[in-house]
C-alpha cells in the first residue's frame, strides 16, 4: 500500500497515518503522504493547519518541543526513520532543513558552511574547502562571496544569508531538504533567486517546502498538499490543485475565500 502521490514517482519519503500531538492538542491528524524523489512538494494551508509541524516531523525536529508525541510511520527510502540504524543526528544529516529566518552563525562565511563538516568529523582541510565551494556553488552564492570567505556571515544581505544557510544545509550532502518559509523575509529579487535555486536543487535533492505564498508554491513545486486544521485535505499535481482542485476547501483556500 502506498500513500497518495501526485504522479506515481518513487517515494523518497512517506508518511502513513502520521498523527502529531502537542500535549492534548492534535496538530496533525493521521496524514498519509508520499514525497517523490527529486521533486518539490509544497505544503500550503492557513496558519495552524499543521503544515510546519508535519515538515518538522520529517527529520524529528518536533521531538525538541516538550510534550510533542506522534503515532504512525515516517519512512525514508522505505525504512522507518525511528529504526535503530538511524539516529536523529544521522537522520538530520540526510534530511536537512532551512528555516524561515536565516540564522547564520556569527562566524566567517567559510566557517558557516564548514561547520557541519567539522562536527561530522571531516578534518582534511582540502576536502573541507572543496565541499564548502561546492555547496556555495550549489546554493548559487559562490560568485558573490568567493573573494570574501573570511568576512563575517552577518555582513551578507538577507537573501545572501538565506542562500548561505542553504549552502550550509547542502554541505553535509543531504538527500532531502526541508524548507520552512525560506523566502518569506526576502525581497522579490532575493525570492526569485531562491526559487530559481530550488529548480536547480531538485535535480539532486528531494525538496519539501512550506509556504504561505501560494504563487510561490505554484511556481516552484511539482505537487502541492493542502492542510486544514491538521488534516491533509487534498494532494495533487500543482497544476491540478491550482486550476481544478477536487475539494471545496482547497478551492476556497486557493481562490481566497477563507475567513
Amino acid at each position: 500500500m502506498t500513500s497518495p502521490n501526485a504522479n506515481g514517482a518513487t517515494p523518497k519519503m512517506e508518511t502513513r497515518g502520521l498523527t502529531i500531538r502537542y500535549g492534548a492538542k492534535v496538530a496533525v491528524k493521521s496524514v498519509s503522504m508520499s514525497l517523490p524523489e527529486r521533486q518539490v512538494t509544497a505544503l500550503i494551508g492557513p496558519s495552524g493547519c499543521g503544515k510546519s509541524t508535519f515538515l518538522r516531523a520529517l527529520n524529528r525536529m518536533n521531538e525538541l518541543i516538550p510534550g510533542a508525541g506522534s503515532d504512525g510511520e515516517i519512512l525514508l527510502d522505505g525504512r522507518s526513520i525511528y529504526e535503530s540504524h538511524l539516529d536523529a543526528v544521522e537522520l538530520r544529516r540526510r534530511v536537512g532543513m532551512v528555516f524561515q529566518k536565516s540564522n547564520p552563525f556569527p562566524k566567517s562565511i567559510f566557517e558557516n558552511v564548514a561547520y557541519g563538516l567539522k562536527v561530522g568529523g571531516m578534518t582534511d582541510r582540502k576536502a573541507v574547502a572543496e565541499r564548502v565551494e561546492g555547496s556555495l556553488r550549489g546554493a548559487a552564492l559562490w560568485d558573490e562571496v568567493k573573494d570574501r570567505m573570511s568576512e563575517s556571515a552577518l555582513a551578507l544581505s538577507g537573501g545572501q544569508q538565506q542562500r548561505l544557510c542553504i549552502a550550509r544545509a547542502l554541505a553535509v550532502e543531504p538527500e532531502v531538504v526541508l524548507m520552512d518559509e525560506p523566502a518569506s523575509a526576502l525581497d522579490p529579487i532575493a525570492t526569485a533567486k531562491i526559487e530559481d535555486l530550488i529548480h536547480e536543487l531538485k535535480l539532486r535533492y528531494t525538496i519539501v517546502i512550506v509556504t504561505h505564498n501560494m504563487q510561490q508554491a505554484a511556481r516552484v513545486s511539482d505537487q502541492t498538499a493542502f492542510f486544514y486544521m491538521g488534516d491533509l485535505i487534498e494532494i495533487g499535481s500543482t497544476e491540478q490543485i491550482f486550476t481544478n482542485p477536487k475539494e471545496e476547501r482547497t478551492e476556497d483556500y486557493v481562490t481566497g475565500k477563507f475567513g
Binding site: M214, Q215, A218, I241, F242, T243, N244, P245, E248, T250, E251, D252, V254, T255, G256, K257, F258, G259
Partner: protein, 237 residues
C-alpha cells in the same frame, strides 16, 4: 458559489465582470432579433440601428478584455476563478463575432428592403424566423448556463445545435428549389440564404459558449472530441 472572497474588492471585480458579460450578451440577443425582424419586415431603418448598435458591442469587448487582463495581472486568480477569467476571455470573442453576424443579417435586410417582395419566398421566410428564435434561445440558454454554472443547461445548448443545423438545411433546400423555379427569385433567395447561414453560424458560437461553460464548471475541456488522439482525452469522469 457557497462562499465569497475574503477580499471584497476582488469579489466585486469578478461580479462586475460577470454582469458586463451578461449585459453584452443581452445586446447581442437584441441585435440578432432585430436584424431578423428587419429582414422579415423589410425595415431598412431597423437594420441601420443594428449596425450602429454593434459599435457598443465592440466597445464592450475591448472593455471586458481589459478587465480580464487586469484581474490576471493583479489578482493571480486560481482554480474556479482562473477558469472563469479564461472563459470570459474566450466567450467575449464569441459574443463580439455574434454581434458581427447580426450586422451581416442586417446588411441582407438592407439589400432586401430595396428589392421588391416576392410571394415565393414567404415560406422559407417563416422558417427563417424560427431559425432566428432558435438561435436567440440558444444564446440565452448558454448565458443562463454561464451565470448559474449549470452544466446540464450547457449540454442542452450543445444538443440544441442539431435542430438549428437541420432547420438551416431545410431553408437552404427550399430556397434552392425557389431559385430553380424562377430565376427572378435568385437575388432575393440568395440574400435569404446568406441570412440563414449567418444564423446557423450564430448558433455555432452559442455552442462555443456552452462548451466553455462546461470547462468553467468542471475543469474539463470537451471541445473537438474527434480531433483528439486516443489517450489524449482528459481522464475525467
Amino acid at each position: 458559489m457557497p462562499t465569497t472572497h475574503t477580499d471584497k474588492a476582488y469579489e466585486r471585480e469578478l461580479t462586475e465582470l460577470r454582469d458586463r458579460l451578461l449585459e453584452m450578451g443581452g445586446l447581442v440577443e437584441t441585435a440578432i432579433a432585430s436584424s431578423v425582424r428587419a429582414v422579415i419586415e423589410r425595415d431598412a431603418e431597423l437594420a441601420e440601428r443594428v449596425k450602429i448598435g454593434d459599435r457598443e458591442i465592440n466597445r464592450m469587448e475591448v472593455d471586458i478584455d481589459g478587465a480580464c487582463r487586469r484581474i490576471l495581472a493583479l489578482r493571480q486568480p486560481a482554480a474556479s476563478d482562473l477558469r472563469f477569467i479564461t472563459t470570459a476571455l474566450k466567450i467575449v470573442t464569441d459574443l463580439e463575432r455574434m454581434g458581427d453576424l447580426a450586422v451581416n443579417v442586417a446588411e441582407r435586410a438592407t439589400e432586401m428592403a430595396h428589392t421588391p417582395a416576392q410571394p415565393a419566398t414567404l415560406s422559407p421566410m417563416h422558417d427563417l424566423a424560427n431559425l432566428a428564435d432558435l438561435s436567440e434561445a440558444q444564446l440565452k440558454r448558454a448565458l443562463d448556463a454561464f451565470v448559474t454554472r449549470d452544466v446540464d443547461k450547457a449540454e442542452q445548448v450543445l444538443h440544441g445545435d442539431e435542430l438549428l443545423d437541420a432547420l438551416y438545411l431545410k431553408i437552404f433546400n427550399a430556397l434552392l428549389a425557389i431559385m430553380m423555379e424562377d430565376s427572378r427569385n435568385i437575388r432575393r433567395a440568395t440574400s435569404l440564404m446568406f441570412a440563414a447561414k449567418h444564423l446557423e453560424r450564430f448558433g455555432d458560437h452559442a455552442t462555443n459558449l456552452a462548451e466553455m461553460v462546461v470547462y468553467m464548471v468542471r475543469g474539463t475541456d470537451i471541445r473537438h472530441p474527434r480531433s483528439r488522439t486516443p489517450g489524449d482525452a482528459d481522464a475525467e469522469h
